[in-house]
Symmetry: C2
Subunit: 229 residues, 2 copies
């Protein structure tokens, strides 16, 4: 009998969180199938980082699926008419849904990941969703992830056959500091990641995403290996 | 006070079922926002039909979003290495998941529709999913649609604010005959639809999709306005 390794689809964005989520899957013994969604972001920097992270995780495959969410508009990350905010006060980052929110993004990402998982008969999908620092994003909350997991059990052939693909969001309740710390402990390939919303040569250090990342490294008491302007 | 019309996103595939679902939404007084997902089908015929149906429904907008599900493989509809079956016996169409099944298709479609609904603040998403003749497709069952509706309530800004977008699948329990009959009663623009899985000048009449469609017209006792080979 051929014993097949357990397989996981990892949503690899190129950012810190998905890099750590993928590393956790790797450490749990999953064979890695990396999936990057190219959804009309403003720059290609993240896609490049995703390819490097997938390679560092020794992914069996790395697929990039294009879905043109910019056709729907409504977010600073895909709509050139909405400005990406920089230099906001820390307090302004909390409690509201920011303009960088992409409508139904995680639902779209998880649904494509589920399709991939079904095709390769993967037991798991890993996503780096995190509720702590993104409290304004409805699709980053634990109750959302749990509901998607219930949906996955109904949505696919494997689900119908009693072997549903399980959705894992291991970082969901972690602070950014803990994400950095656990990532370092597990030797996550953080140096290949990219978090900046802008598309410069170095990370800007001023957009919400850079600020969150920097806060994480500060909390962990270590220096970010990726350079800033 | 400006009173805004209620809005619905309709997943318009170009086929019969979504045409009837959209007509029902129209008759219920919704302003129509048509959405077509171009997911790497083998031919452009359906996309063209979708545009004509959207126009006939007097859609306020018609968006086409590309998502390259063919990158994932695993279906005869997107993978050129898998043959589309024709001339199967009626019995063979039941009880199994056919090779024309696209992994997680309705989950991907509904998630993009949800993103569109969030952007335009639509109260509803309509999908022509049908459980009766597609009993083999896990994502065409009523329990699946109900679960996606629960997910929608958690996934979006509107949901968080207590005004979730509701998912409607009005044809879910109808036979194909009833779909044709109700479509005719409501003057659905059926003549613009296209169901054939192949990409000929006329519908082939032999693939599973054509056969189901023909069965519907036969049950309804009327002739299909769209020509066959």
């Amino acid at each position: 009998m051929v014993r097949r390794n357990k397989r996981a689809v990892i949503l690899v964005s190129g950012g810190l969180d998905s890099c750590v989520a993928g590393t956790i899957a790797k450490c749990e013994g999953y064979e890695i199938y990396a999936l990057t969604i190219d959804y009309g972001q403003r720059h290609a920097k993240e896609i490049e980082a995703a390819a490097n992270v997938a390679k560092a995780l020794r992914a069996k495959e790395h697929k990039t699926v294009q879905v043109d969410l910019s056709a729907l508009g409504g977010s600073a990350l895909t709509d050139p008419d909405i400005e990406v905010p920089t230099d906001r006060e820390a307090g302004e980052m909390e409690g509201e849904i920011p303009v960088t929110y992409v409508p139904a993004r995680n639902t779209v990402f998880l649904s494509i990941a589920l399709g991939y998982a079904e095709t390769i008969e993967a037991q798991a999908v890993f996503i780096g969703a995190n509720a702590v620092d993104y409290s304004g994003y409805p699709d980053c909350r634990p109750e959302y992830i749990e509901k998607f997991d219930e949906l996955a059990a109904l949505a696919t052939k494997q689900g119908v056959e009693g072997k549903p693909t399980k959705v894992h969001a291991p970082l969901i309740e972690w602070t950014k500091g803990r994400i950095v710390q656990e990532g370092l402990n597990l030797k996550a390939p953080i140096k290949f990641t990219w978090s900046c919303y802008l598309g410069g040569d170095k990370q800007c250090g001023r957009c919400d995403s850079c600020r969150l990342r920097l806060k994480g490294f500060q909390e962990a008491g270590v220096e970010d290996p990726v350079p800033y302007e």
